[in-house]
């Protein structure tokens, strides 16, 4: 058997984006020895791509803002399928988490009186997003990265808070029902590692690589989702996938790359090829009284929010993505299959380059488009999965003892659709809670679970298997077929027939993936890595397709052509995925959504609740 590197820690955090780093900080500050595992280099995780900002009701720009308003916006954005307790904790704690970043050295943009500036975003009633131009994610990850370094300096070395860069975890290890550690490989050497650790925090982000057009990078293959399932934990509401309305569509090589919602938050408008601001035609009933009905009113809102309603370009993302999809299908799209997003006629050039520097740079360098002089072409791109590991809201604990999850990999917080800006705040709030949850779990543990050597041997064999099939099918080609299948058959608009087809194709792909091969050696071999990632992608794609087929309604990031209406009965149901044993079919069951307590229900008008809830609930 190959030599295996062994490490012993209290907590292993898998994932080094915002949620993982914030969890590691919390667990270390609670006195635990922590390992941080990055699939890429330290500081490169996808948090870096977040552009717009972190939503937190600090009330710096409009003092009418508070946690109750933020809570309401989040529930509306998620079409009331959110776990109410998560949405409550998130809205209450986000301001403290953002302020805390300043004590780590973060430098947000400022208001004239020197406080953190806040910008408008889709679905948020008031300017709420703390930001740094359009590179907020970079600021966030660098700040957390530097805080990790600062804690290492306090310790005098990195023995108690160690970063393992370019390590991929392929299996969670258990002792009976409990987590005992994790098994993975180093990309740089191909050598294996075993972490002995009673607590594991999953912070692996999303599943974007299941789709052909996505804003996500190679890393986002649903690793945490799949590890959790395989370890016996459950996944919640995997049918809800957010297609960000504005991804680049041209040139083909950049198709899917994100165009920040800040463009619209700062005044940008969407037009079809007839020059029409089409979003006015797409305001759904549930939001009718909250959005402007004329261009004039929408335009006035930027300066006077008290007396005007917001423009419909700032509807939640699911609404805007569907609208763009419909315009293109109706033949009013651009030759490259998008619509126009224009800020050039809305702001002076200097203001555009100041507020949106990285968008200016991105379009200039990659598409030869000067966004201060001409419109951008944009279309929907797979961006974020609302579904994820089922967790306890307060401790981020999954259903398996010792397993925790935070950030995109966890489920419930965002319901059926996430508001822009709520991701950076989510990963701070629940990253910290996961770190604290893991620490207190350790304190309550009587005996340290033990890793079974047989499990290590089995994980090693499984990880090396692609090399035994060097002549097997090309894993890159299989990944491409999977992405095409999900794109075509389980995309923005779904039907039962197509999803059944998708499930058949996934079954076939699973068989072929089990025979996929890798040539070459173990040192930094992408073919091998893709062959291993494919297993996770296929499992998670199956969860998405099965859940999506089951839910017979349209809500948020799940639109059924054959069930176009939102159903109050379905709002009461969570869909839970579980894996009875490795290699078996995903099992699906319904589970009642926890009921919101009276004091939170009272934050809404009865008329509004009636749009979502059954008569008995009211």
């Amino acid at each position: 058997m190959s030599p295996v590197e062994r490490h012993e820690f209290d907590v292993v955090v898998i994932g080094a984006g915002g949620a993982g780093l914030r969890a590691a900080i919390a667990a270390r500050e609670a006195g635990k020895r922590v390992a941080i595992i990055c699939k890429s280099l330290f500081g490169k995780a996808h948090t870096v791509m977040a552009e717009g900002g972190a939503a937190a009701a600090m009330g710096n720009v409009n003092s009418a803002d508070n946690w109750q308003v933020h809570f309401r916006d989040t529930m509306r954005g998620g079409k009331f399928l959110n776990n109410w307790r998560m949405a409550e904790l998130h809205a209450k704690e986000a301001p403290d988490r953002v302020w805390e970043l300043e004590t780590y050295g973060a430098l947000f943009d400022r208001t004239p009186d020197g406080r953190i500036s806040q910008r408008n975003f889709g679905g948020h009633e008031y300017p709420r997003l703390a930001h740094v131009g359009d590179r907020t994610g970079l600021e966030l990850i660098r700040t957390l990265q530097q805080k990790i370094v600062s804690l290492q300096q306090d310790d005098g070395d990195d023995e108690n808070l160690k970063v393992f860069a370019e390590v991929t975890v392929t299996r969670l290890l258990k002792d009976g029902d409990r987590i005992a550690g994790a098994f993975g490989y180093r990309r740089q050497t191909g050598e294996f590692l075993v972490f002995d650790a009673p607590a594991v925090v999953l912070a692996t982000g999303g599943i974007g690589k299941s789709y052909k057009v996505t804003s996500n990078s190679w890393e986002y293959t649903g690793d945490g989702h799949a590890l959790a399932l395989a370890a016996g934990a459950t996944l919640l509401n995997m049918e809800f996938v957010q297609f960000h309305p504005t991804g680049m569509v041209w040139p083909p090589s950049v198709k899917g790359i994100l165009v920040t919602e800040s463009v619209r938050g700062d005044g940008g408008v969407l037009r079809n090829t007839e020059g029409k601001r089409f979003m006015f035609e797409y305001i759904p009933d549930v939001f009718k009284d909250k959005y402007a009905t004329s261009e004039e009113e929408g335009d006035r809102w930027y300066d006077d929010q008290a007396n005007n309603r917001r423009p419909p370009e700032l509807l939640p993302r699911d609404e805007v993505a569907r609208a763009i999809n419909s315009e293109v299908k109706a033949g009013r799209g651009t030759p490259h299959g998008g619509v126009f997003l224009d800020v050039s006629t809305r702001l002076p050039a200097a203001e555009i380059t100041r507020r949106l520097p990285s968008m200016y740079h991105q379009f200039k360098e990659l598409a030869d488009v000067d966004i201060t002089a001409e419109p951008m072409e944009v279309g929907p791109t797979a961006h974020y999965v609302m579904g994820g590991v089922e967790v306890d809201p307060d401790t981020a604990a999954a259903t398996v003892p010792g397993l925790f999850a935070a950030g995109e990999v966890s489920g419930g917080m965002h319901g059926s659709n996430r508001l822009g800006g709520n991701s950076l705040s989510d990963l701070l709030v629940f990253g910290r809670r996961a770190g604290l949850g893991a620490a207190s779990y350790l304190d309550s543990l009587a005996a340290r679970p033990v890793v079974a050597e047989a499990d290590v041997a089995e994980a090693t064999t499984a990880a090396l298997a692609p090399f035994d099939r060097a002549a097997g099918e090309n894993p890159f080609a299989l990944q491409g077929e999977l992405q095409q299948t999900m794109h075509d058959l389980v995309g923005i608009i779904r039907t039962a027939e197509e999803m059944e087809q998708a499930l058949d194709r996934l079954t076939d792909l699973r068989k072929r993936a089990a025979a996929a091969g890798a040539g070459g050696g173990r040192v930094f071999n992408p073919g091998w890595h893709v062959a291993l990632d494919l297993v996770n992608l296929l499992l998670i794609s199956e969860c998405i397709a099965r859940s999506a087929l089951e839910r017979q309604e349209s809500r948020g990031g799940h639109t059924r052509d054959d069930f176009p209406a939102m159903s109050a009965e379905w709002r009461q149901e969570n869909l839970i995925c579980a894996l009875p044993a490795p290699g078996t079919e995903v099992q699906l069951r319904r589970q009642p959504l926890p009921a919101m307590p009276r004091e939170l229900l009272d934050l809404f008008d009865r008329d509004e609740l009636a749009k979502y809830m059954t008569d008995e609930e009211l």
């Binding site: 890429s40 280099l41 500081g43 490169k44 996808h46 870096v48 791509m49 600090m58 403290d96 302020w99 004590t103 780590y104 050295g105 430098l107 947000f108 943009d109 400022r110 004239p112 009186d113 020197g114 406080r115 500036s117 740094v132 131009g133 590179r135 970079l138 600021e139 660098r142 530097q146 805080k147 370094v149 600062s150 970063v163 860069a165 740089q188 990078s217 190679w218 890393e219 041209w250 040139p251 083909p252 090589s253 950049v254 790359i257 360098e365 990659l366 090309n474 894993p475 890159f476 080609a477 491409g480 890798a518 070459g520 050696g521 040192v523 930094f524 071999n525 992408p526 073919g527 893709v530």
Partner: protein, 250 residues
Amino acid sequence: MGYQARFRVWRGDDTGGDLADFTVEVNEGEVVLDIVHRIQATQAPDLAVRWNCKAGKCGSCSAEINGRPRLLCMTRMSTFGESEVVTVTPLRTFPVVRDLVTDVSFNYVKAREMPAFAPPPGLAPGEYRMQQVDVERSQEFRKCIECFLCQNTCHVVRDHEENKEEFAGPRYFIRAAELDMHPLDARDDRREYAQAEQGLGLCNITKCCTEVCPEHIKITDNAIIPMKERVVDRRYDPLVWLGNKIGRRG
């Protein structure tokens, strides 16, 4: 409008290697990273290359293209003639792991040596007040995506392994400058530290770092030169030092 391009990609590991020739399809709008990926997907599945965001925001895909340090994802194929051979090699300053992937841990070691932000005593979270004009100077340096192209191109270490021990490099000079200019950082020895511990004195301001920075950070003019000048001022002229100190806080 696709055409067949000729690529030469360095393949090998820490024991040695050589340029490998590929003929590969190129389509409109593509960047060098697309072509490397096409080689990987169709001709050499084990070709090692780092990448993440593919939009110039994460700084993972640094390499040398025709000898120039560049991000693979931000170098468009249209900048080359169709008959031109495009040669892609790994960063020269860092040890090769395999193919286009190098061991950049040098940079993370230097990051750990850099004293962290020191929060101002007496200010609770939420009480920080700073003016936009004052944070902008540091914000320029916080645009850094840590692609390490500046570290790679800096001649102090590019062909001088022996300098690596005492030289932190441009990326960490801008980190020092960022903290020096941070309106609320409680430490006041960032410049002296850069001189004494980071090897700032070894830099002779040839501006190579500024030239390769994909974020267009004016590393030399806005960070290194002011740090050097102020160190000199403070060392030799206590009155200038006092003036700077008051001016900076004003």
